[in-house]
Structure formats: structure tokens, C-alpha cells
């Protein structure tokens, strides 16, 4: 009895020690098809180049800001590199939780010698933010669930048109994007949206417009929910990230159609947490330089339909790695898809987010 117990313990300790021997780097991302594309395009080639290094993924990006704050307070940063949306990167940078960097020093230049700061250009929205992809929040619907004879929706306002397109829809449980769409469909010109939204009446107007469909809306929190809801036939249309729709439509053969009208562009990228030890920082820098070079960003687009953040990567985007279809027409930035677009307005939402969030939540609870 005693012998078996101690052998067990010894082997368990050996197992722990064994897994602890290898060098590890923890990357934080969003899970799902997106993280899979990062694994294939960056992590696997990097691990091949660096035998002995293991990359561990933590799917904690949704709560990255809160967790980094707690880690910082406890003085115990366990993450090496964190994938966040640009708005979160700006917040983390302001709070000193993310490291500021010099693009031309940290990031590789384009193959033709263009320095990184020019290659990424306007997408460097914060001193801490290392852009990776351009994605969009956009709509999709199930043609087979629309009433017979209804014209195919060609505008985001189909979301608010309960007469032509009856049935439940799913929208993200936050004011961003929804408020803008509501105002546009209430007759506000695209250029005036944020001026109107800055006023008390404008916010109420957007909520009133959303109120016309409120009892038919299923609110989602995670981007994986809308494809699931649409596949189940629980809703007839909804919004999610374009890459999620792509993976449901092309890779899983779901009968969805994209509705690109009034899609909202946003950026996603890495931040390096402040306060890493020198040894860890050196390794992370090496990884970032590799993972954001022109070829790697173009490679990622083989696995998911998000646009690479570097101008020099765009011409290299080819075909899907498994399906062999051209990826360019599925990119949110493709001219056919980008006829009517928005760019996430960082300044506006930085100023108004708390206020409008509170109003939106109160409105939801009514």
C-alpha cells in the first residue's frame, strides 16, 4: 500500500517535472477558428524553428483587460503575449499594463525595405498595439428561412424590417455598432451618425429604433453564438465577425448568405504585457518579429478570412489552405464587399462608451 502510494507520487512528480522542463510561452487569444489560424500560421512554424519551445494558448482575450489588471496587482504576470482588439489595447496602454514599443525596431520591414511603421501605416492606433488583422462585424442570414418571395436583403436595415423579414435576429449585447446601424436605418446620413449619437436625443433615438425589434432579438455575448443560432434555425439573421461566418459557410457548408452592407471594420493585434522578465521579453520579441512579418500575415489569411494588417501582405493573399478557394473575395476589404463600410470610431467610443453602455444596459433591462 505504502509502496504503491509513493511510487504513484514519484511518477506524478516526474510527470510534472517532465512537462515543466520544456520552455514555454503563453499566448492569449480568442479560441475558435481565429486561434486555429494563428496556430497554423505563426505558432507551428515558430515551434519548428525553435525545438524545445512549447507554445501554450490561453483563450482569455475576452477578459484580458481585467485579468491583466489582477495579474499586475498580484505581481504575477503569467502571459507572454496577448491578442486584443484595438480598443482594449488603447485602454491597456493608457493604464500602463501594456509595453510601448518602437515599430521600426521591433517589427520586420517589408520585403522591399519599407519600414514597418509605413507598412502598417494608420493601423498603428496606439503606442502599444501591434496590428495583426482587419476584421469586420457584419450580418448574415438564412435565405431558406425568409418568407417565400421576399427579396434577398441587401441592406443592414433588413435587420429592422420585421414586415418583410419576420423572425428572430441576433445582435451583439453591446451598444457599439448596433446604435450606429439603428440610426442609419432611422434615416440619419452616414456622415452625421456620430454627431447625432453624441447627443442625448440621438442616443434615445437609436434605442427607440432598436426598441422596434427588441422583443425579436436574441442578444449574443460570444461570437461563436450567432453561427450556432443560425445553424439551429433559432434566428433568421444576425451579426458576427466575418471570419466566423466564413468558417460556417465555406468550411462547414451552412446555408447562410453574407450581408456585407454597413459592415464595421475593426483591428485586432498583439500587446506585450508590461513587466516581463528580460529573458521572456527577448523570446517574445523574437516571436513577434516572426509572426508579424509580411509572409506570416499573408499566411494567416489562408486559414481565415481576415485581412492582413500590412499593406505589403495583401498581394500575397492566396487560396484557402484546405478548400483551395480564392480568399480575396471573402476578405472584408474586397471592393465588392466594402461598398458601404464603417471604421470603428475609437475616439468617439473612448469618450462615450461608459455613458452609452450604462444607458444600453438599463434599456435592455426594461
Amino acid at each position: 500500500m505504502k509502496v504503491t502510494k509513493s511510487t504513484l507520487l514519484a511518477s506524478a512528480v516526474a510527470a510534472i517535472a517532465g512537462s515543466a522542463m520544456a520552455e514555454e510561452m503563453t499566448l492569449v487569444s480568442w479560441g475558435g477558428a481565429y486561434q486555429a489560424s494563428q496556430t497554423k500560421a505563426y505558432a507551428e512554424p515558430f515551434m519548428e524553428m525553435n525545438p524545445g519551445l512549447t507554445i501554450v494558448w490561453d483563450e482569455s482575450s475576452p477578459e484580458a483587460v481585467a485579468k491583466l489588471r489582477a495579474m499586475n496587482e498580484a505581481g504575477n504576470i503569467t502571459w507572454d503575449l496577448v491578442d486584443v482588439v484595438a480598443a482594449d489595447a488603447i485602454r491597456l496602454c493608457d493604464e500602463g499594463l501594456a509595453m510601448e514599443y518602437d515599430p521600426d525596431e521591433l517589427l520586420a520591414a517589408a520585403p522591399d525595405g519599407t519600414p514597418a511603421s509605413e507598412d502598417f501605416g494608420d493601423l498603428l492606433v496606439s503606442d502599444c498595439f501591434i496590428p495583426q488583422i482587419v476584421y469586420s462585424t457584419t450580418a448574415a442570414y438564412r435565405p431558406d428561412l425568409l418568407p417565400d418571395g421576399a427579396p434577398a436583403p441587401d441592406s443592414i436595415c433588413a435587420m429592422f424590417d420585421m414586415e418583410t423579414y419576420p423572425g428572430k435576429r441576433t445582435l451583439e449585447k453591446r451598444p457599439i455598432n448596433n446604435m450606429e446601424w439603428a440610426l442609419i436605418c432611422d434615416g440619419v446620413a452616414k456622415d452625421d451618425v456620430y454627431d447625432v449619437l453624441a447627443t442625448e436625443e440621438g442616443q434615445q433615438r437609436a434605442l427607440d429604433k432598436l426598441g422596434t425589434i427588441k422583443d425579436q432579438v436574441v442578444w449574443w455575448g460570444a461570437a461563436a453564438e450567432p453561427p450556432q443560432l443560425l445553424a439551429d434555425g433559432e434566428v433568421v439573421m444576425g451579426t458576427s465577425y466575418n471570419g466566423r461566418w466564413f468558417s460556417a459557410i465555406e468550411e462547414q457548408d451552412q446555408p447562410f448568405e453574407m450581408l456585407w452592407d454597413a459592415q464595421v471594420f475593426d483591428l485586432d493585434g498583439w500587446i506585450i504585457p508590461a513587466g516581463l522578465s528580460e529573458e521572456r521579453l527577448a523570446r517574445v520579441k523574437e516571436f513577434v518579429k516572426f509572426a508579424t512579418d509580411t509572409q506570416r500575415l499573408a499566411d494567416q489569411a489562408k486559414f481565415i478570412s481576415y485581412g492582413p494588417a500590412r499593406a505589403s501582405s495583401a498581394p500575397l493573399v492566396g487560396q484557402h489552405a484546405e478548400l483551395g478557394i480564392d480568399m480575396a473575395p471573402h476578405m472584408p476589404t474586397d471592393p465588392n464587399n466594402a461598398k458601404n463600410t464603417f471604421l470603428y470610431n475609437y475616439e468617439f467610443w473612448a469618450d462615450y462608451r461608459d455613458d452609452i453602455d450604462a444607458k444600453f444596459q438599463a434599456w435592455l433591462a426594461q
Binding site: 475558435g32 501554450v56 482569455s60 461563436a224
Partner: protein
Amino acid sequence: MFVGAGQGNVLLGILLGAVLMAGLAWVYIAVLDNERVARWITILGLTAAGYFFAGFTGLVIGLLVGWFFAFFIFWLYEGRYRQKLLPYLTGRQVFGHYLFRVVCGAIFVFLITPILVVLPLSFNAQDFFTFTPEMLRLDPEGYSLKHYEDFFTNNEWQRSFKNSLIIAPIATVISVSLGTLAAIGLSQSHVPGRRAIMGILISPMIVPLIISATGMFFFYSDIGRFLEGTLGMDKNFVGYVKVILAHAVLGIPFVIITVTATLVGFDQSLTRAAANMGAGPVRTFFKIQMPLILPGVISGGLFAFITSFDEVVVVLFVGSASQKTLPWQMFTGLREQISPTILAVATILVVISIALLTTVELLRRRSERLRGLSPA
């Protein structure tokens, strides 16, 4: 009834169904009066109706419903419901008896159906939590083992499975050793303030988990810094130590409670007799006390193991991604991915839990039989 429900009018469906069944009952009793024929008519009729309205699924449902109602009508009519009961019970008592059974049955259904729903879904050929039309037709195309394959080939799932298998047993061994000792100590009447100590020891079970987890996060961060910084231990090793200790703390209350319960029936004169014959306390414990309280220790250990194996909140706070356990992976997978791999894992876990509990129960019965202590 089901046709009504299918067309979005459950109440009307139930009413129609009841009228139909009452009509049928009257026809059988007044006209046919032959149970076997009536039973076959009902079964075949409802099966055909079910098949007509809803294909294969309808056929199965119709079959079951027909069988049930054919039985039910004659069961009610002939008063067969009194046969197995005591003859002097009043009508109300008979009704209460069956009501009790129906409620018990309903409880089992509500407890078990959610688990059963998961099993077929895990063989879904699609990447969604959906019963596809192919699955409902029992078409082999609609089923696949790909989610099981994903579990066994995907690095993230394998890592988390391995972590769970490392963390849970070690945490269990620690909680069982400490919990048993604590329970024995606390059952001695001369220990001062034992109620207070007991209260503190079982507090992890009472305090909301999220609060313990937040506290543990800061506490173990300091410990981790000390172990890594001052003692220079490996970061990953420290990570495991932190999670294992945190889980051991959560498991201890279960062991204390179950062992204390068995100790209530333990005759302290046995230990005095052992001491009288020259056995030291350690020897007495292993030879006399331990075998007698073993059932309590084992069930406490089982609870401790399951606590650690199922735990997601504390490990999310205390662990880092290298210590990702199975529940953690399921939790994030559910939120970010909604992949049926989670269902495949759930199915595997359900099977393992059933096997584990059955083994323990069989072992317990065997040892009780061997010692002639069988309760029944």
C-alpha cells in the same frame, strides 16, 4: 398531443389528445372488451399516425405512446392499480402512492435527460450543437466520430486532460491524508475549541467559491513569487503546486465530513484495547481504526477527487495556461467555440464517472460482505 405541440399549440393539443384517449377508452371498454385486441389496435394506430405525421421519429413516439395508453386504459378500468397495494388503503392513499411515484419519476427524468441529450449530440457530423435532419432520420451520414478524434489528437485537449489527471489525484491524496487526520483529531472530546476549528476547516465549502478563488489568487501569487524568486524553483512546477494546494483545500471539507460521520459509530474502546496490547498510535491507526473507517475515507476521497476534477473557478484564477485543466478547456471552448468536442469529452467523462462509482460501490459491497457487515 404531439401534433398539437408541433404546430405551436400545446394546450389545444393536450386537450384534443385527452378527448381522443377518453373516446378510445370508452370504445374499448363498452364495445370491444378484449384487452389484447384493443392494445394492438392502439399501438398500431398511433404508430401509423406518428409515422404519417413525423416520419421515423413519429413512429417511435407513436409506438411508445400507443403502448402506454393501451396499458393505462385497462389499468385504470380494471382497478389493477390496487392489486399490489395493501387492501385497506383509502382511495386517497392509493392516489398519494402513485403521485409519489410519478413525482420521483419526474425528478429522475429531469436529472438524467440533460445528460442523455449530450450523448447522441456528441456523434454529430456537424460542428454545431444541433440535431440535424440526417441524425433524426438515423442516417449514418449524420453521425461521425470526428469530435472524439479531435479530442484525442488536439494538443490543447490532450494537455488539459493530462493536467487534470496529474492535479486531481495528487490533490485528492493530500486532502484525504489531511482531512482524515483532522477528522480523527476533532472527534476526540478533549480538543479545545473543536467546533471553531471544524468551522474554519469546512469554510471552503460554505464560502462562495468566487470569493475563495479571489483570495487564493492573491495568496498563491505571493507564495508563487516566493518559491520562484527566493527558492529559484521552476515556474511551471510552482504553477502545479499552487493549483494542487488550492484544490486540496477545497477537497478537505468533504473528507472531514464523511470521515467524521463514520467516526460517530466508531468504538473508541477498540483503540484503547490496541494500546493495551502494546500497539503504538500509528500502528493502531493503520491496523484498527483505518480499516473500520475506510468507507468514509473512500467516499470522502471520491468527493475530493470529483471536486478537483470538476473545478473551474479556482483554477481559472490560480492556474496559468500551462495548468489548464479539462473543465477550464471546456469552459473556454464553450464560450468561444461551441464545438461538439466538448460533448464528446462530456460523454467520455460521464462514462468514466459511472465506471468509477460502480467500481467503488462494488468494492465497498465486497469488503462489507467479507467482513460480514452487510447492511441488508
